[in-house]
């Protein structure tokens, strides 16, 4: 084993790692927000909007992320819709794809809260939005957190798909290193370890939140 190949490429690994973290963090924030909004619409049963939300879910859960990302990046250029950056396209695709799953997680959490909670809040004069934010959502925490972490972890790993549109994330830098210096076993193992390094603190943080949610 030749460890020097890793050390000599440390800058590339570092920049790849940073790009992956950046994309992951942005996509986690965006897909959570999107998922919340879609779940709120789905559970509100507002006629046209709810159907629109359903269509969105079907489309983005029913097609591969890889295809979505290619379509968004190259399709946007082809259709002449502005010039989307590589990061923008990767973020958009990840958000739309993961947002669909996150929405369903939130929906199952929201639907697990008894109807009586909505009714009590309603008679007290709270608006739907107030009820959602102060009564319903806080109660979904324990139900929603475990699957949500799972989704975030899969999102982090899915950022590697952005390699196909040329986003210089961890995997792409790794490929570049292999192309130049060889030692693919070493290089890819290092990449796997780095993904694991990103994912593990996420699980720890959320496990701690979970424990708090249970005791609250």
């Amino acid at each position: 084993m030749d460890w020097s190949v890793l050390w000599s490429n440390r800058d590339l690994y570092a920049s790849g790692l940073w790009s992956t973290v950046e994309l992951s963090a942005a996509a986690i924030a965006a897909c959570t927000l999107l998922g919340l909004v879609i779940a709120a619409i789905r559970t509100s049963r507002i006629p046209v909007l709810a159907q629109f939300a359903r269509c969105y879910l079907e489309i983005f859960r029913g097609t591969p992320l890889l295809v979505q990302m290619l379509f968004i990046y190259f399709g946007a250029a082809y259709l002449g819709i502005g010039n989307i950056s590589v990061f923008g396209a990767a973020l958009l695709a990840l958000t739309l794809f993961q947002g669909a799953y996150v929405a369903e997680i939130f929906r199952s959490g929201i639907e697990a809260v008894p109807r009586g909670q909505w009714e009590a809040a309603r008679v007290l004069g709270l608006s739907r939005v107030q009820t959602f934010g102060t009564v319903i959502l806080p109660q979904t925490r324990a139900i929603v957190l475990p699957p949500l972490v799972g989704q975030y972890l899969s999102l982090v790993k899915d950022t590697s798909i952005a390699v196909v549109i040329g986003y210089a994330e961890l995997l792409r830098e790794g490929q570049a290193i292999v192309d130049r210096d060889g030692h693919p076993g070493m290089a890819y193992l290092a990449i796997a370890v780095l993904y694991f390094v990103i994912c593990s603190p996420l699980s720890v943080v959320v496990r701690r939140m979970e424990r708090k949610a249970v005791t609250a």
Binding site: P114, Q117, E119, A120, V123, L124, L126
Partner: protein
């Protein structure tokens, strides 16, 4: 379609709650078949009847949790049959549910102050003060910081009553408030309800507690098969029920 809709009129009476010709069906099931009820200010009306007689549905219509298919519903001067105006009632009536429906993630005080903060938009300090006042009113001054799961059923229901009281409701509705309670806890809840009645609160109560109906109600309404079969003072309805169905019902509930 140019005929003036009834919803544009002013309340037909000075009653706090006035229902006329209320119909409601759920699918094929006709739950209410034309109900007229009036509840005067400060009056305590108790709805009794077998389960499925429509009394809970009627109560839920009075606080706009269900909507009547036909008929007029006036509560506190608000026409609930007018879709646009119905929401005006929220925050001005109190509802106490069979299952309490307390917010489990908030303390007793947090439950009581939520609507004061979000709907009345008063300061946290004023809300807490008012919250502690109503908790004391139901005998739970020392439980302000307890979560619902840490309270007994009777205590939870009293918090629910306090939560409704905090908003200074014009009318309070009780939907079988003691049905989910262990028998030994019923008294503390009916006790609070009795004292509210004594203070002149307008109340509409659906209950199977016949003792409460007999000694607290101004007016007892017996419902059967989606209609008001018989009504009057508790002495009249309990003492000399005119209808055979009422006699049967009272016989059944009083002898068990």
């Amino acid at each position: 379609m140019i005929t003036k809709s009834p919803m544009e009129r002013t309340p037909p009476t000075t009653a706090q709650v006035a229902l006329s010709g209320v119909h409601k069906r759920f699918g094929d099931l006709e739950v209410l078949k034309g109900v007229d009820i009036e509840v005067g200010s400060g009056e305590v009306v108790v709805l009794i009847g077998a389960s499925g007689s429509g009394k809970s549905t009627l109560l839920r219509i009075m606080c706009d949790l269900e909507r009547a298919d036909r008929g007029e519903v006036w509560v506190n001067g608000v026409p609930l049959h007018d879709r646009k105006r119905a929401p005006e009632i929220f925050g001005h009536v109190g509802m106490v549910f069979q299952q309490f429906n307390l917010f489990p993630h908030r303390t007793a005080l947090g439950n009581v102050t939520l609507a004061l903060l979000k709907v009345r938009k008063i300061s946290r300090k004023a809300a807490d003060e008012r919250g502690r006042e109503v908790l004391a009113r139901v005998g739970l001054a020392d439980k302000a910081d307890a979560y619902p799961a840490q309270l007994s059923g009777g205590q939870q229901q009293r918090v629910a009553i306090a939560r409704a009281l905090a908003m200074d409701p014009a009318v309070m509705f009780f939907d079988e408030p003691t049905s989910a309670l262990d028998p030994e806890l019923v008294g503390e809840v009916t006790g609070v309800m009795r004292s509210l009645a004594d203070e002149g609160m307008t109340m509409v109560v659906v209950t199977h507690e016949m003792r409460f109906a007999r000694d607290t109600a101004d007016h007892v309404v017996f419902m059967d098969g989606g209609v008001v079969l018989e009504q009057g003072t508790p002495e009249r309805v309990f003492g000399s029920p005119a209808e055979a169905r009422t006699q049967q019902f009272l016989h059944r509930v009083l002898d068990t």
